[in-house]
């Protein structure tokens, strides 16, 4: 009897020690994901903000490259209507639409940068060089923010899908949903580089 009590006590202690620290994990990881999502959204916005200037500068030297320029402007307009809100994160369609719009802008931009290769005067323009450096830096930041977001979502989804986080969530946070993550697109695996 006494031995059983001792063993029971130890088991209770261990269970309490495993579960108790996890009680806040789901909301904490959720906030973490939201933070990284808004960081990513900020970086995408920053890229979007660079585009009017870039398009204007390129137009000054390569006005007859209309196709590429309109593609970039249109892709940017589409991106402008979307924000990565917490609701979007757990909605597969909305998330996919967001990802597609951003990917379209990425490929339109890389086409534009390819075209500029043919205009040596444009490439000597100080303003253009600055914009190019900013665009390159922003693409870098987007890559970093995407990776951070992917990691955060992985952690959150893992907590929701595995024991004991699964039990805690079922008990205390029934509204918690699996969040969407990025899939590497073909454009990403071939990395549209801003070439010099």
């Amino acid at each position: 009897m006494k031995i059983a009590g001792i063993i029971g006590g130890i088991l209770l202690l261990i269970i309490a020690l495993v579960i108790l620290p996890r009680i806040n994990n789901v909301p904490k990881l959720d906030e973490n994901v939201n933070m990284y999502a808004s960081q990513l959204d900020n970086q995408y916005k920053r890229r979007s903000d660079l585009i009017p200037n870039l398009v204007a500068t390129v137009k000054g030297y390569a006005s007859h490259e209309k196709d590429v320029l309109t593609q970039v402007t249109e892709a940017r307009a589409k991106v402008g209507q979307m924000t990565l809100t917490p609701e979007v994160l757990s909605n597969p369609e909305a998330f996919k639409a967001y990802q597609n719009a951003q990917d379209n802008l990425s490929s339109a931009l890389s086409r534009l940068m390819m075209v500029t290769e043919n205009y040596p005067e444009l490439k000597a323009n100080e303003n253009f060089l600055n914009l190019q450096a900013q665009l390159e830096g922003t693409e870098n930041r987007i890559a970093v923010a995407r990776k951070d977001y992917i990691e955060a979502v992985k952690e959150y989804n893992l907590e929701l899908r595995t024991v004991p986080g699964k039990w805690v969530a079922a008990l205390l946070y029934p509204e918690a949903k699996i969040k969407q993550n990025f899939t590497a697109t073909t454009t990403e695996t071939t990395t549209p580089k801003v070439a010099f």
């Binding site: 006494k2 202690l13 620290p21 450096a133 390159e136 870098n140 923010a145």
Partner: protein, 283 residues
């Protein structure tokens, strides 16, 4: 004693496993990590001195790294991860800058921490690379290139932050934890005069629980606190002479603070983070 030693070793091991990342060079208390061997001793010390002086005046941490190989990574991808790994920049300001030179890949990068992206924007970093660094690198003159590069970097970031007014370095929480654990242990050891382990079960659970909760509040690392809780529980349960053991733990507690004291002297990252800001160039 032996048990305690192996437990601390295990805890230290767990901590290093949690925070390690693959294949980055070590900082070794230095602001100039010259793995590619581009500088002679005099040049290295000179750079080191100026980087250190800049940190004292502004609290910005600037580190020069030369690499033998980027291991197939893009330099931008490698750079921000290295910056995060070392934690260059103060934790609350994220004011670190890395100047990374990979002579074999002929790549150079200025990696800018979050907190300095305003003072050293990408376009500025790019023009520093194009006009201050690359002209020297093209003639193989690495030291002069790095020299004029960090001069321009200092120029850009010097006004952004002031050094912290009080030099109050945060004491590592772990250092506080151990004395508390030992006091708890001693206290419980003293109040329980029980001779066999069965009668010590309640105090053992209590002290284990306290240790677990205290360590969880300090570290927020689940595995570690559970481990500490169980270790304290077992120690209390099976310690043969409570009084003697208590003072034993206590003395090894002071060993801990001595053991960590060494790391206060040299240079180490302040815990700053990076988000991919900066610019790259090649020659």
């Amino acid at each position: 004693m032996k048990l305690l030693k192996s437990i601390t070793l295990l805890v230290l091991f767990a901590v290093t496993v949690l925070f390690s990342a693959p294949n980055f060079p070590e900082l070794n208390n230095s602001r100039v990590v010259d793995n590619a061997g581009l500088f002679n001793t005099y040049q290295r010390i000179d750079l080191e001195k100026r980087l250190a002086a800049h940190e004292t005046n502004t609290s910005n941490q600037v580190v020069v790294v030369t690499l033998n190989s980027l291991e197939g990574y893009d330099i931008a991808d490698y750079g921000y991860q290295l910056g995060r790994y070392w934690g260059i920049g103060q934790k609350d300001k994220n004011n670190g800058v890395l100047l990374i030179v990979a002579p074999n890949e002929r790549k150079v990068r200025i990696e800018v921490g979050y907190g300095l992206e305003g003072a050293l924007p990408d376009a500025t970093a790019n023009s520093i690379i194009q006009y201050e660094i690359l002209p020297f690198f093209k003639t193989g003159n690495y030291y002069d290139g790095v020299n004029s590069g960090i001069k321009s970097i200092f120029e850009a970031i010097k006004g952004e932050y002031k050094p912290a007014s009080s030099d109050n370095k945060d004491l590592p929480m772990g250092l506080l934890l151990f004395p508390i654990l030992f006091i708890v242990l001693m206290f419980i050891g003293t109040i329980s005069n029980a001779k066999n382990s069965k009668e010590r079960i309640i105090p053992a659970i209590v002290s284990g629980g306290i240790a677990g909760i205290v360590s969880w509040m300090m570290f927020f690392i689940l595995g570690l606190s559970v481990f500490i809780a169980i270790a304290v529980f077992l120690l209390t349960l099976f310690s043969s002479n409570s009084r003697g053991n208590g003072s034993d733990y206590y003395s090894s507690g002071s060993n801990f603070s001595g053991f960590d004291g060494g790391s206060f002297g040299g240079f180490s990252g302040g815990g700053g983070s990076f988000g991919g800001g900066g610019a790259s160039g090649s020659w």
